[in-house]
């Protein structure tokens, strides 16, 4: 028969080797059912206490018990396993750009500029982020909502005002320069761009 210390070490090893929560019933299988559920629960509580001072903790979840790193150590651990920073899709960024540069605009305006339909989800994403909101309605059939950017948007991008966004003439000019560089012979207006970008 196993002593409690050895049983605890086995429980510990089994839980450390499993990234998924392990149900109590599975933990009992470790000992062929020779150790009762109550005893195992007590050993788990002891284990939890033993780990109290460490960067990893033993927690009980709906699916069972598991070891997990403590949240406050994530900044360190994240350096080891950097997550790729999430990125917005091109559709979201273009929509945001249109709202920022052309506000107040309706969804129809955005669609006209983008040349494709704009899903409600895109606008919801930006609204949920607190970067755009409805600033009014246009008095046309359907009274479409007019979107504008918020103070939060400026704060999050580190801008004091929209004027600090790159001026559009400059944007257009770089585009022209680029087009000229790639098509030196022909007159290469920025709008004579290859199709297929849609």
């Amino acid at each position: 028969m196993l002593g409690p210390t050895e049983a605890k070490r086995i429980l510990e090893a089994a839980l450390l080797a499993s990234p998924e929560p392990v149900p109590l019933a599975d933990l009992r299988r470790l000992f062929d059912g020779q150790i009762g559920a109550d005893t195992i629960r007590r050993l788990l509580e002891e284990l939890r206490a033993e780990w109290a001072e460490r960067a990893v903790e033993l927690v009980q979840l709906a699916g069972g018990w598991r070891f997990q790193t403590r949240r406050e150590f994530l900044p360190f651990l994240a350096r080891l396993h950097p997550e790729k920073p999430p990125r917005y899709s091109r559709a979201v960024l273009e929509t945001l750009a249109i709202i920022a540069y052309r506000q107040p605009v309706t969804r129809g305006d955005i669609e006209e500029i983008r040349g494709v339909s704009v899903s409600a989800q895109i606008l919801q994403t930006l609204e949920a982020r607190g970067w755009i909101d409805v600033v009014g309605h246009r008095e046309t059939p359907g009274r479409p909502a007019l979107y504008g950017t918020t103070t939060r948007f400026l704060d999050d991008l580190g801008l004091r005002s929209l004027e600090e966004l790159p001026p559009l003439e400059e944007v257009a000019r770089t585009l022209e320069l680029e087009a000229a560089a790639t098509q030196p012979a022909a007159e290469a207006p920025a709008d004579a761009r290859p199709v297929g970008a849609e």
Partner: protein
């Protein structure tokens, strides 16, 4: 650990040794013959079983036993790899060369034992065979032990995409490139701030419903802002987003949302 390897497994039980003669129970024989990895493995088995000196192999008995086994395999309709027949030819060739009288040892090369190459191959194969067993005895991840992998608690931190001003410029650039906007939408620096104030006015009108014209202006912010606010108001009126009313000359001017009536 020398030659104590099980030569075969019969119903899971290792067969360590075989009867000295060739008689083997038919079932066991089949299992055993199939267990040989090839002619070298079979030869090694014969050599080790007979306690032959591998460095001085008696070619005649070895060849005879080898051929007996090959014949047995054939009779049992075991699939006989071509390599077994090639090895039979090699053994017979060596045996016949051993029977030739040795020429006087003039040149070192010519005294080379005809068995040398076979012995080299047998020793090399045996080494690898033992090495394979030792590798299999090493503790193996997933079989004998498990890697530890505790969960990394990161769900709590929802990471939102970062956007920089240049991302927006880039997005706009892509739009320009695609939608031939350049000609139609020349937006100046001023116009942009006008647009910002258009949103700002609309937003405050949503809160206050109706504002007096003067309330929209904050002289403390300087003339530029006053002008921009004024331009924004004109633009909003032009786009029919606000209504500007005045009951008479010099009466207060009121600004309200064009859609305010529906509220």
């Amino acid at each position: 650990m020398t030659s104590a390897a099980p030569v075969a497994r019969l119903y899971g039980a290792p067969i360590e040794t075989l009867p000295p003669d060739l008689y083997i129970p038919p079932d066991a024989l089949e299992v055993m013959l199939e267990a040989f990895q090839g002619p070298l493995d079979l030869l090694l088995y014969l050599i080790r079983r007979q306690n032959m000196n591998i460095l001085d192999i008696p070619m005649a008995p070895l060849t005879r036993q080898y051929l007996d086994y090959v014949e047995l395999m054939r009779r049992r309709n075991l699939e006989l790899a071509a390599e077994y027949l090639v090895m039979a030819a090699i053994l017979m060739e060596i045996k016949s060369r051993m029977l030739l009288p040795r020429p006087p040892a003039t040149e070192a090369e010519e005294t080379a034992d005809p068995r040398a190459e076979l012995v080299r191959r047998l020793l090399e194969y045996e080494k690898m065979k033992l090495a394979a067993r030792k590798l299999d005895e090493l503790p193996q991840l997933g079989r004998d032990l498990f890697a530890v992998a505790v969960a990394v608690e990161r769900e709590a931190v929802v990471r939102l995409p970062q956007v920089h001003a240049r991302d927006l410029a880039e997005a706009w650039r892509a739009l320009l490139a695609r939608a031939r906007l350049r000609a139609h939408h020349t937006v100046t620096r001023e116009a942009l701030s006008v647009r910002e104030y258009m949103s700002r006015i609309l937003r405050s009108l949503r809160v206050h419903r109706v504002l007096e014209f003067a309330e929209l202006f904050d002289p403390a912010r300087g003339i530029a802002v006053l002008v921009v606010t004024f331009l924004a108001l004109l633009e909003l009126a032009r786009e029919a987003l606000v209504e500007i009313t005045q009951s008479g000359a010099f009466a207060p001017i009121y600004v309200r949302l064009a859609d305010a009536r529906s509220h």
